[in-house]
Amino acid sequence: MNDPMLFLPLIPLLPFLGFLLNGLLGSRLPKALVSAIALVFPLASFALVARAAWMVHAGLALPVVEHDAPAWIVSGAMHIGFGLALDQLTLVMLLVITGVGFLIHLYSVGYMEHETGYWRYFAYLNLFLFFMTTLVLAANFLLMFVGWEGVGLASYLLIGFYIDRKSAGDAGKKAFVVNRVGDFGFLIAIFLLLGNFGTLNFSEIAAHLAAPAGLSGGTITLICLCLLLGATGKSAQIPLYIWLPDAMEGPTPVSALIHAATMVTAGVYMIARAHALFDLSPTALMVVAVIGAATAFFAATVAMVQTDIKRVLAYSTISQLGYMFLACGVGAYSAAVFHLMTHAFFKALLFLAAGSVIHGLSGEQDMRRMGGLRKEMPVTFWTMTAAVLAISGFFPFAGFFSKDAILAAAFHQGAVGKALWTVGLITALMTSFYMFRLWYLTFMGKSRTESRHAHESPWIMLTPLMILAALSVSGGWVGMDRFGAFLAPVTGTPANAGDAHVELMLSVLAVLVAAAGWFVAHSIYGRSGSQSMTESLASPRRVLENKYWVDELYVACVVRPIEWIARYVLGWIGELVLVRGSAWLMAGIAGLCGEWLRRWQSGNLRSYAAWLAAAAAVLLIFVLAGTLLGVGGFAQTISWAVR
């Protein structure tokens, strides 16, 4: 079992087995068996990952299956195999994916109990784990792309899980297509890498880059920007973030697992994985940082006015992912991954708790019709509180440590870094505000629910909540320094921070900002509930509530023109005029020729005979004229005529 050939492929393949069993037979199996299959395989996978963690901890060699990996695509000089590699970065990702993933599976058993497509749901969920673990285990870009597209597929299937709902189908389609735009960038990057390095293996590319005679900056920047396009698609960053809010159409545990904790962080993982490339291109890094900061700020503003509990969380996710991009952009990859991990804990918790609320209210998602749930759902309330404190960045909750590390890293990056830090800080203020707004609207005040009796969720759902709450509280205690040191073999040592006083000051400032956010939320929502919030600042609110009309802009600038061109330019001019028209033209010419020739067809037998005789005479003259006139034989006559 120590053989990596056996042990690494099993991590993704076990959930795949679960997918096959449930996908092929699930509809005929009893529910309990379906749940058992769905839970056992991720748990086994998690056990393997835990074992790998122990191996790393014990200082054993990192398992790698690269050169002896089975070949996948071999053509000419190109050789791409199913290479898998496990290092510290992958390990962190795997722990999050399989650990949080398993908890969410567990939660889903309760949450999805009454749904008709129970088996289908778990099959998709296991499929997701298969692709996601493949993504992080991949030792080359193409296999990573497999996972990359695969999680997109799983996401598509799960968003559209409620197949009766048109909006769910639309959202799934939108997610997949927008992700495809990102994948297009990824694919181009792969081609560029293949063209310039002749290989797609991470280790070999890193070796190429380390060589002194490297590539020119322009190509590297181009590759990085293409990769970045892929990352913005998957991680819902500007300009491709538009799919994530709609993706909330899926079941809530799916939002927790895919659209908060794991899949959407794939872009961050990818940038961290390819940091050797990004490090060589300051331009690309700058773009990453700016996109991250802008997305963080932008999404936070929108999150402040959403009324759907899941949409608040969705924009919050986009915003937090922006933080991670910001961290990558300033070269603090380990901080990005650190935040990725803590975010996975508290955002999964937030979603699951929100799911518990929705479950308790029989599907109600509008915060304006919640309130006062503190009494009815105490466990949900307390765990949610932990998560809210964590995401807002209160000491000593997990979010404090990771967000602090990111802001500190930005602060030390010169003037631009200061600007980014400022944006980050304002975003932190808004984060704290909208999270406490959610908290107040949902749990505090009087109940605004109509004639529904809220109830606490079953224990199978609450157990994961409590575990995640514990992680949200304690997840950051490991500290940025130790975490960074752990990841150092992969991401390199981060730039040395400033002195301790500045650090401490920044931390205090961050906590103060978070407290300010809470205070503002308390002053608006703490007493009066939802009434007073709509009065002031009407016009900015309208902009925010309509999400800056970005969706409409995309439709007007991209979707409609494509449809218009397809329908009118291609459909009418191309198909009707050119393709059909040319055929009609030929038919017309043939028809005219026939019209002219039919005049010779008198139908009279004797005229035909005359033509026959005349033609025979002409042919004979032609054949025999040479002989008669002494020019030569038949062949000569022919060749003379042809010439």
């Binding site: 039919r598 067809q601 008198s602 139908g603 009279n604 037998l605 004797r606 005979a609 005359a610 005789a613």
Partner: protein, 103 residues
């Protein structure tokens, strides 16, 4: 008395008969007479076959005439059957009135 005749005389005769057959095809109005003109042309050609067979001492020339006769017999059978059915359908054999082929 053993006079000789040049071979080309036979051939000239064959050509003349053939041309008469062509002219017959053109001027006759009855379908059946036109058919006879065709037979005339076939016979003219047969004559030249036999002449050449004699000229080159090749038996196969005569064999060819034999085949032409057989084909002519088949043709006559079918052709006359067609003529009969045309007459049944149209009531006439005048070619100028049989112009259904005209578009």
């Amino acid at each position: 008395m053993n006079t000789t005749v040049p071979a080309e005389w036979y051939l000239i005769l064959s050509a003349a008969l053939f041309t008469l057959g062509v002219v017959g095809f053109l001027i006759k109005r009855s379908l059946i007479s036109i058919f006879m003109s065709i037979e005339l042309m076939l016979n003219a050609v047969n004559l030249s076959f036999v002449t050449f067979a004699h000229e080159w001492h090749a038996v196969k020339g005569q064999i060819f005439v034999f085949f032409v006769m057989m084909v002519a017999a088949a043709e006559a059978a079918v052709g006359l059957a067609i003529i009969i059915s045309i007459f049944r359908a149209r009531g006439t054999l005048t070619v100028d009135q049989i112009d259904l082929m005209k578009l």
